[in-house]
């Protein structure tokens, strides 16, 4: 048998996916040897043998043993040689002599129960993207998991980042690219950061000043001044992508400024900018105040793109595993609640209040229900204008990294898959989703379609090279 539940002290099992470690499974390895074409994997390639342990405790113990054995032996061949030489029992006891296997098993088996820290501070930016983080408060999801969370409205992305780094906040609402940037040390000192859950997908828009009603084609946008919420934001990458597809160089032909979302409408009104790709409710607010119109929704560029996220530092997870466990569940439960179209009107009423977004209810309601005035005299009905889906696809992280590289925010070689796995904690999210009765995807990688072009996460460098306008 193969996989994480195989007995690591049995020389016949394969801990690595195949004996040489270069293939996804033993079946594929064998096929490669026999020159069979790949992709025709028979069902049940990773078939479970009879010695498959069934009870959770044994399974947990196995996982720990396997992890330790993998770390010690490094390659399949070495493990087998050693085990064949000394035998199973000797190997197990030899390993236990210098590694506290029993303690590790025990620590792993005990699912964390009571949160180590109950009083938490979670920062948010007053935009509809923060809905799950906010909603978990009035809906009592934080309390349900034994947490006493204070959700604190914060003035801007740089501030929320600094406060999170300074540990004034235990967890924070961040733009999806921000945990990647912090981990890589772009724009700040490198600190291992994680993103266990996406908050919202879609829900952004390009808003233009009313005077540009007749200039809807991005080819005519030379010299425009655009605002985005932050340099490390999906907004920045999407507007760059959009104008670059129209043949404009976002660094030379237009201006892009980082402006905190709340200040975007004020700047648009003052004619300081020609438009913005920003979060709601500020697109809708521009329409409400008669300042601008919604040119297009971000879902028209990439349907299902990630926007904001729930982020915690790696240190917080290590120090407070049970608190993290509880917090993530509260967030995911609130995400599921906010995602339900039937709840949207109620959610809008709650989060529009002074204590959270401090916006007119009708503005927030239009964003969340997707029935909205577009600023051009029409009422549009787009139910998935914004949606909430917690699963942090690694492929999303890889796409973000390709754009960071494309626009020169990061340089040199990067291990896309590894960084994505470190920061986007898909395993944790999937586990929490399953516990709540949701169905997470099987694999954290998929292709995405952005403006009709398919992005394949297995070839990020080729993807970057396929663009004519880039900084690499």
């Amino acid at each position: 048998m193969t996989g994480p539940f195989a007995d690591p002290f049995d020389p016949k099992t394969a801990l690595w996916r195949c004996t040489c470690g270069r293939h996804a499974s033993q079946a594929e390895h064998d096929r490669a040897l026999t020159c069979e074409p790949a992709g025709s994997e028979p069902n049940g390639a990773a078939s479970w043998s009879d010695d498959e342990p069934t009870d959770t405790e044994t399974l947990c113990a196995r996982v720990v043993e396997t992890a330790v054995a993998k770390a010690v032996f490094r390659t399949e061949a070495r493990r087998r040689a050693f085990l064949s030489l000394v035998g199973k029992a000797t190997a197990a006891s030899a390993l236990a002599a210098f590694f506290p296997l029993d303690a590790a098993k025990e620590a792993f088996a005990q699912a964390p129960r009571a949160p180590e820290k109950r009083d938490l501070k979670v920062g948010f930016i007053p935009i509809t993207c923060a809905t799950p983080i906010i909603m978990a408060h009035p809906m009592g999801y934080y309390a349900k998991y034994g947490l006493n969370v204070e959700v604190i409205r914060t003035a801007g992305w740089a501030v929320i980042r600094d406060r999170a780094i300074n540990r004034e906040y235990d967890a924070a609402h961040m733009l999806a690219p921000l945990p990647l940037a912090i981990t890589l040390g772009v724009g700040s000192a490198p600190i291992p950061w994680t993103m266990p859950a996406v908050e919202n997908i879609n829900g952004q828009a390009i808003t233009l000043a009313n005077k540009h009603r007749d200039r809807r084609d991005p080819k005519d946008w030379r010299g425009f001044r655009f605002a985005v919420p932050f340099d490390f934001s999906i907004h920045n990458y999407l507007i760059r992508y959009y104008v670059a597809e129209a043949g404009l160089d976002p660094d030379r032909d237009i201006q892009i400024r980082a402006v905190p979302p709340p200040e975007m409408v004020a700047n648009l009104r003052a004619d300081n900018i020609d438009g913005f790709l920003g979060p709601d409710p500020f697109n809708q607010r521009a329409v409400f105040d008669g300042v601008g119109f919604i040119h297009l929704l971000s879902r028209d560029l990439w349907d299902g793109h990630p926007c904001c996220a729930f982020a915690v530092s790696r240190a917080f997870i290590n120090e407070h595993p049970a608190t993290y466990h509880a917090l993530l569940r509260a967030i995911i439960e609130a995400t599921a609640y906010s995602s339900n179209p039937a709840n949207r009107r109620e959610v809008a009423g709650v989060i529009a209040a002074q204590n959270y977004l401090n916006q007119p209810v009708t503005v927030v309601e239009q964003v969340l229900t997707g029935t909205f005035a577009d600023g051009l005299g029409r009422v549009q009905r787009v139910p998935n204008r914004i949606d909430f889906d917690p699963f942090p696809w690694h492929s999303m992280a890889i796409w973000i990294l390709t754009q960071m590289k494309r626009w020169g925010q990061i340089r040199g070689d990067i291990n896309y898959a590894q960084i994505a796995e470190q920061v986007f904690l898909a395993t944790d999210a999937a586990q929490a989703m399953r516990e709540l009765g949701l169905t997470p995807p099987e694999r954290p990688l998929r292709t995405h379609v952005i403006m009709g072009k398919t992005f394949d996460p297995s070839d990020p460098e080729g993807y970057i090279a396929s663009f004519a306008i880039r900084r690499t």
């Binding site: 007053p126 204070e150 959700v151 604190i152 409205r153 914060t154 003035a155 801007g156 740089a158 501030v159 600094d162 406060r163 300074n166 540990r167 004034e168 709340p262 200040e263 409408v265 004020a266 009104r269 607010r285 329409v287 409400f288 105040d289 008669g290 300042v291 209040a353 002074q354 204590n355 959270y356 401090n358 916006q359 009708t362 239009q366 029935t371 909205f372 005035a373 600023g375 005299g377 029409r378 009422v379």
Partner: protein, 281 residues
Amino acid sequence: MLVSRPFASLALAALLFALFVGVWQLSSATSPAGEVIVDPEYAALVGAAAATGGKTPFPSPIEVGARILEHFADPFYVRGTNDQGIGIQLAYSLGRVLAGYGFAALVAIPLGFVIGMSPLLYGALNPFIQVLRPISPLAWMPLALYTIKDSSVSSIFVIFICSLWPMLINTAFGVASVRREWLNVARTLECSTLRTAFRVILPAAAPTIMTGMRISIGIAWLVIVAAEMLVGGTGIGYFVWNQWNNLSLSDIVTAILVIGLVGMMLDQLLATATRVVSYQE
């Protein structure tokens, strides 16, 4: 002159104010012209002005007045972390200003005294003071956040650093320019250095020191609003930011009024203190 005809100036001030409000009311009353959108569903989704093709106008004095009354009817409410009354926000700001300012006074006045009494130190420290003094206190904010790792203490630090220089320079100047004769008299009477400092130099330099303190409190009050807008959380500056976020100009006007009144009170307080210590030569 001002003292001789107080009623006339008061009447003129009231007239000017009435004129200002009148012009404001008139200019905000003009209805925006434009195409009228008839679709009632659309009109229900946008603001009143946008429904008729205009932009939301600046609020009229009546709207602002109503908002001010609303704020002052219940200034100390707390309805959650992010929703607190204007009185509470003012208290936060005043607390930060007093902490930063008080700490700056504790450092600046003794240090200024020493610098003023020792020409050697004056010469040595003067270049540093001259370079550090013109730096906008807000420029310190990212540095403070990075090193202090606490946003509330950072804003206090920013207040500290901006109130430090006027007090330090004025104290040093006041101490250094105490009249030679007085110091000579003290020396003739064989006063100890400490006694000279407290009985001769301090009273002589007090008016200059107080002027420095008055300048400092003005700057500190200016800076706290900006600092709180930047860092957020609590305070009157945060209140302004939060209402800007909601594009609620009536609330911003309320805040501006309150900031002005409190600033004036702080200034008057120190002006009174200056009058107490001033002397006629």
